[in-house]
Amino acid sequence: MRAKNYFVGAAFALLASGMAHSALAQDIKIGEINSYSLLPAFTEPYRKGWQLAVEEINAAGGINGKKLIVVSKDDGGKPADAQTAANELVSSEGVAMLTGTFLSNIGLAVSDFANQKKVFFLAAEPLTDAVTWSKGNKYTFRLRPSNYMQAAMLVEAASKLPAKRWATIAPNYEYGQSAVAVFKKLMSEKRPDIQWVDEQWPPQGKIDAGPVVQAVAAANPEAILNVTFGADLVKLVREGNTRGLFKGREVVSFLTGEPEYLDPLKEETPEGWIVTGYPWYSIKTPEHDAFLKAYQAKYNDYPRLGSIVGYQTIKSAAAILAKANSTDPEKLIAAAEGLSMPSPFGEITFRKIDHQSTLGAYVGKTALKDGKGVMVDSVYKKGADYLPSDAEVEKLRPKD
């Protein structure tokens, strides 16, 4: 009964599970990884989005006649587990490419795995600039507008505000840190007269909102940049409302207009914040109408931003696979570089220079309508307009 014979048992179990899935040779498999158990508020609509895309693709004849199958894995929010999942997808499932991920560090871990194992990886959600720039590699592409792009969109609106004294509140991890850094840099370039009077760095998911709100108020800023989201945002908004932090102050806020984060606020929604987000109720374009109709028909629910990201991730993957007409990673890269395709937000292109897609975001203001938070005056900002010049990008990105 000593020790090691359990290895064998485990080995057989793994072997058996590996053999259980054997798809038909003419199917094309995509491996998808996301933090399903850690971030269900985002990943549930995300999953619905990509499932809709798979259904549409196969109904339209699949990829060059081959059926598309998406094999989805949970990473539990841990980079190490994401790599285990990536390995399973590549080694035992034999997927043609990897997609997905939400958290930046997981996106980077999978991107590094893809680079090492020479696998095509389409990052869906991770926002860190490092994915396409400082730690970019030739196997990795990204769909969502990066931190830099969203900051640039917000700066465009924020720099027109008269406010000169700014304070920042951001979660204390890479996303928050880089969002604040880029925002400050771009803002100070446009408005050298601005002073940064306070910064607060609550731990992600653990904000003690009362003291943070007091501390910001004590610095007496004219405007506030917020990067917190999720439960932290709820606490911050509630304390801020009660203590009058937002009264007479402009607030610029990352991601707050996304239904995932705006809807829980209900009647506490602060009015007049400049935010990035997804006002699905007020987008009147044929592409989006088609998506909205299909989504609501299938799920009897409204889409969140996650739905768009999930939907477009698989649609993009399918477009790349169709153009390459191969599952060879080098051919996939060649096909993806510079590829344009339709999306619910209009046409997008995967740039050759840094593998970033030009998917944009909506910028608007928050408002309260019938006890619910909405985005008003929303304008779609094209991703292509908010990226630095090619020369700058080349300096940021290591040579392949």
């Binding site: 980079p79 035992s92 560090n105 871990a109 004590a218």
Partner: protein, 629 residues
């Protein structure tokens, strides 16, 4: 000036929320000695139930009624858990209850999403406490004032309960000396149940009262559980007043700390705990624990080296494991390597816990330091893999030498919590020192050299190291050093009487365990090709504890089996289902009930019994007499 007063009051409000939850944990631990990992889960269920009820019941009475009903309802669940689950395992080895409550916590995290859905829920504001009160131009939310009053009121009620009722006298007596209370004929079953109910009630009340200021979501439990443990330990285990003072101390330091260092929140509580424990080893208001009265000879089958047949069997198992690359694919081999690394990690903690009797809650620190050591050497110094593997674990060794020196001055749960504090300090350095460690984006591109790059070669490497480490640690158990270490575990006083320098022996054991964990971490860095602060994090430390407890803490090498079972199951479940936490938690709870001595512990006992045909006065029968029941 008004600002500082308001900031102070804001801190007090935070303290009151923290105190409610911490006081419940403190009471439960003081009496039952259960490290109730599920306390955060009860807090979260309290919030969820209160959310549902406050949405249904209307009016002021409805709101406050809902809060109270929710707390009672969750307390009822607590009673159920105690009677059905925990009661069965009070006689199990120390900390085994941690495993049960950990399993419960995993289950609850998935269950709340199944029941209440994935979205963050924002509840109503409290009727009558919606606005703020103006204080010289500063706003104080009236709900904060309510909490500031509630904290001391609850403290007062608990004080009366403990000082003025017979139940309270019994609880205090049991906190001080459980065995004596049992000897005096008190029915401990109901005492424990009622204490657990009160503790859970307070946790649920704390959760329910967050409704007007927080969002209700499925990760609330993790957000609070570690913090309340820290508060309880700073205050001194079982001391309600201590918990109150500690909650105020921590909250005020945070409220004013962020004015000077806005990034302090992430680590503050752990810094305070480390400082307090180094100066006062039993917390602010705690008292030294009475020397243990257990007689280990009765409870543990005497350890012995393997017989030659068993050695052959172990060797055969190793050989079979080594043939895996002949028939398994790359994925199975990579998982095999990960399991082998888990074995290294688990046996290193097992050595400290089982042989040394020192349960570390922060063992991942040394695993992660080993991984970072490799990453620094490989990425910055550009050294070859073999050199990195040999030198990387030295970082784990050095960390263990420094922190171990302070930690072994303490014992029991205080030791465990000090190791946790050190681990969190190391974690926060890795997390914050972006220019060196890359922060939470980690260090990428730490891939093995070509000789070890293929999955089969890496598997053989990991398996070989795991086997060597296990053999080396076993040999150490039966060396003079091992005997001395076991002596310090079994009776500190007697071991010192025969001239053993207990602290130095324990410190050495700590360094050995830390270095071994570092070896596991070094391999892990190459397996994954990257290093993240996660590798030092609490959840990894908890994994190690679970693996050891699952295998059996009273065995010589149970952790090997515990690690294989837990890791293989975990990887398989995560791959197969989104509800992996629910299934894994359920499995752990089942194991706890079926194998209350851990898997290997139970097998050994069965083998032992068969050998002796169960004589009267066997370990099983001796147990109830000397312990809780």
């Amino acid at each position: 000036m008004a600002f500082y007063v308001v900031q102070f009051l804001t801190g007090l409000a935070s303290a009151a929320s923290l105190f409610l939850v911490a006081s419940g944990l403190s009471i439960i631990f003081g009496v039952t000695r259960i490290v109730n990992f599920a306390h955060g889960a009860f807090y979260m269920i309290g919030a969820y139930v209160a959310f549902t009820l406050t949405e249904r019941l209307s009016g002021a009475f409805g709101f406050w009624g809902a809060i109270v009903i929710a707390a009672f309802a969750v307390a009822l669940i607590g009673v159920l858990v105690e009677m059905v689950l925990l009661r069965r395992i009070y006689h199990a080895p120390e900390l085994f209850q941690l495993l049960a409550t950990f399993g419960l916590t995993l289950m609850v995290e998935d269950l709340v999403v199944l029941i209440w859905g994935p979205d963050d829920l924002v509840g109503r504001r409290a009727p009558g406490f919606k606005g703020a009160i103006d204080f010289f131009g500063q706003n104080i939310p009236s709900y904060d004032l309510f909490l500031i009053v509630l904290g001391p009121v609850v403290l007062g009620i608990l004080w009366l309960l403990f000082q003025r009722t017979r139940w309270g006298v019994l609880v205090r007596a049991a906190t001080q000396d459980r065995d004596m209370v049992a000897a005096l004929g008190v029915n401990q079953k109901w005492l424990f149940t009622s204490v657990f109910a009160v503790g859970v009630f307070l946790a649920a009340l704390g959760g329910a009262l967050q409704i007007p200021r927080d969002a209700v979501h499925h990760a609330m439990d993790l957000r609070i559980i570690v913090e309340v443990f820290v508060v309880v330990v700073i205050g001194g285990l079982g001391s309600i007043i201590g918990a109150f003072v500690a909650a105020v101390l921590v909250s005020e330091l945070n409220a004013f700390g962020i004015l000077i260092f806005p990034k302090i929140s992430i680590i503050l509580v752990f810094l305070v705990m480390a400082a307090v424990l180094i100066v006062r080893p039993w917390g602010l208001f705690g008292r030294p624990e009475a020397p243990a009265r257990k007689t280990p000879g009765l409870t543990v089958n005497p350890w012995r080296p393997l017989t030659s047949n068993e050695r052959l069997a172990a060797l055969a198992a190793l050989v079979i494991a080594a043939t895996l690359p002949l028939f398994a694919g790359n994925y199975a081999l990579t998982v095999g390597s990960e399991i082998a690394i888990s074995v290294i990690f688990a046996v290193s903690l097992h050595f400290l816990m089982s042989v040394g009797g020192l349960a570390s809650f922060g063992h991942a620190a040394y695993f992660g330091l080993g991984a970072y050591g490799v990453a620094f050497l490989a990425k910055m110094a550009g050294l070859p893999m073999i050199v990195c593997l040999l030198l990387g674990p030295l970082l784990g060794c050095m960390g263990a030498a420094v922190f171990g020196f302070f930690a072994v001055q303490l014992s029991g749960v205080y030791f465990a919590m000090l190791t946790l504090a050190f681990a969190q300090i190391v974690w926060s350095i890795a997390f914050q020192w972006v220019s060196v460690t890359g922060g939470d984006n980690g260090i990428l591109g730490v891939w093995p050299s070509s000789w070890a790059a293929s999955p089969s070669h890496f598997y053989w490497l990991s398996l070989g190291v795991a086997a060597l480490v296990t053999i080396a640690l076993r040999a150490m158990v039966f060396s003079p050093f091992g005997y001395a270490l076991r002596a310090t575990r079994d009776s500190l006083l007697r071991s010192e009487a025969v001239g053993i320098n207990a602290k130095r022996i324990q410190w050495t054991a700590f360094v050995i365990a830390g270095t071994t964990a570092g070896i596991g971490g070094a391999l892990f860095a190459y397996l994954k090709g990257s290093v993240f602060p996660d590798n030092l994090g609490i959840s990894l430390s908890v994994d190690a504890l679970v693996m050891v407890l699952l295998g059996g803490v009273e065995t010589v090498s149970g952790a090997v089996i515990g690690a294989i079972v837990y890791k293989a199951l975990n990887i398989w479940l995560v791959s197969q289902t989104d509800l992996s936490k629910l299934v894994l938690g359920g499995f752990i709870v089942l194991i706890v009930v079926v194998f209350p001595k851990g898997i290997v512990g139970m097998l050994e006992m069965l083998a032992h019994r068969r050998g002796k045909t169960s004589p009267p006065g066997s370990p099983l029968l001796a147990k109830p007499i000397e312990s809780a029941e």
